[in-house]
């Protein structure tokens, strides 16, 4: 028996805590203006490390965003997640009272690549400096990848399906896809996304082993994918949470359907095997289009992974060509993350947020600091480009070999 109206996953709320803004409005203003906020690393204890440039979230006041117990019990990446979830739920006009009425119909899914490094470092210093009796019990949960999912659900009283995607940077897109699947399986609302805080000394030292990390010290030159001077990626903190809910129910309660999560596919091609990521990413693109019932020509913009490593950039440009065929020569491609850095799992979620905003504003944001493209791509540079954007493709790859593609459709196209 086929359902007359299959359940579809709609985006009804967006909450952003990013290097270029701690609200969705501030994020979009800076993103569409092509402002780069990449800057010297100033975080305490990081000044002497070889990583010179990052995207720090400087405007965020944890004590203003979360209650004292979360300041003591959770890491900075969870503070970001709790704040972004609040913003997303407010944006979706889902109050605490609304969700208290049906707690089992609301779940949470997050992705995290680095966990709670700052909290973990503090407790490990206690361990080696004073002894095991001086390690606080919250260490057991605060640095864990799953912490943000658990703390969001505890703080808001959500009792629906909760999960964590551990799938590399591309896991950010996989978390959104997982939310869409949960909605299709019967859960009404998912709070989904990713936030990261990888700029504590311990976390930075862990990243120094990545050959793809940019150690350049000029913020305007440190992250320039798709150019002949590409020298790696700049890391960032922050992220975004989205409210994903069943489209019909969302419309019935009067929510604004901002976009539909239409298709997704994930593949794996091995750590730092960038040449091979071409086939994996192309397969992800084809799978996502297929699930969305979307022809290549319908894609109005591609938000690129844009790693900033020549071999990886070449593989991505070729994957777009493989996945979209002749349309690849015409479709505008952008990578606004060159202005804020690459926040691991959070990066593709911020791109998904920017894709929704791009569809709403009819404006494709540019790729800051990038000029003189050396690939066969129509990369949007300099200033935002006005365009009717009804369908967006977001791409992500992880350093450990995951590739994902997500197709989003503009919400207004799907009014019932």
């Amino acid at each position: 028996m086929s359902e007359p109206h299959p359940r579809r996953a709609a985006v009804t709320g967006i909450g952003v805590v990013a290097p270029n803004g701690t609200s969705t409005e501030a994020f979009w203003k800076s993103t569409q203006e092509g402002i780069s906020v990449l800057d010297r690393v100033t975080r305490e204890g990081c000044e002497h490390l070889p990583l010179r440039v990052a995207g720090e979230v400087r405007a965020f006041e944890p004590a203003a965003a979360v209650e004292e117990r979360y300041l003591v019990q959770t890491d900075r990446f969870t503070h970001f997640a709790l704040a972004a979830a609040d913003l997303a739920l407010d944006d979706a006009r889902l109050s605490q009272a609304d969700t208290d009425d049906s707690p089992f119909s609301v779940g949470v899914v997050t992705a995290a690549g680095s966990g709670g490094g700052e909290f973990g470092q503090r407790e490990l210093q206690q361990l080696w400096g004073k002894g095991s009796r001086f390690v606080g019990p919250y260490q057991s949960i605060a640095w864990f990848y799953a912490a943000s999912t658990g703390q969001i659900s505890i703080r808001r009283g959500f009792k629906g399906p909760c999960s964590v995607v551990a799938a590399d940077e591309a896991g950010g897109l996989d978390a959104l896809a997982h939310a869409a699947r949960a909605v299709r399986r019967g859960t009404d609302v998912l709070v989904a996304g990713s936030t990261e805080a990888p700029l504590a000394p311990y976390s930075v030292v862990c990243q120094l082993g990545y050959q793809e990390l940019s150690l350049a010290d000029d913020p305007t030159r440190a992250y320039r994918p798709f150019t002949s001077s590409a020298c790696g990626f700049v890391p960032a903190e922050g992220g975004a949470m989205l409210v994903v809910e069943e489209e019909t129910a969302a419309r019935e309660r009067g929510a604004r359907v901002r976009a539909v999560l239409a298709g997704h596919t994930a593949t794996f091609t091995g750590a730092s095997r960038w040449e091979e990521s071409r086939a994996g990413l192309a397969e992800a693109i084809r799978g996502a289009l297929d699930e969305a019932g979307c022809a290549p020509e319908e894609i109005d913009v591609v938000f690129a992974d844009a790693l900033g490593v020549p071999e990886a950039d070449r593989a991505e440009a070729l994957a777009i060509a493989d996945g979209l065929g002749t349309h690849a020569k015409r479709v505008p491609v952008t990578a606004p993350k060159t202005g804020i850095g690459r926040g691991y799992c959070a990066a593709p979620v911020l791109d998904a947020a920017a894709a929704v905003l791009s569809m709403e504003h009819g404006l494709i944001p540019p790729t800051p600091n990038v000029f003189d493209i050396c690939h066969d791509l129509d990369l949007v540079t300099g200033r935002a480009r006005a365009a009717e954007v009804r369908t967006a493709l977001v791409l992500s790859r992880g350093l450990m070999g995951s590739n994902s593609a997500l197709v989003l459709r503009h919400g207004a196209d799907h009014a019932s």
Binding site: E68, V72, Q73, G136, P137, S140
Partner: protein, 85 residues
Amino acid sequence: MSDRITVEELAELMKKAAGVTVAPAELQERYDSGFDAIGVDSLGLLGIVGELENRYGTPMPPDTERCKTPRQFLDLVNSALLAGA
């Protein structure tokens, strides 16, 4: 440091170890309330026990972190401190 743990010290430990702020006078009034209702979860109570053990240099009874209320908790730790003194 007194040889008895007071409500004031428990309130200070709750703030430090679990991030839960309750004024000593209020904690006195909620002497028989559950720690869960006050906002201190099991990990928070475990942290408070660890902090006390480090401060006083003596182990607390094995079930200290299972106490349900401030009264139970203070009775148990103070009897242990008295016995150890």
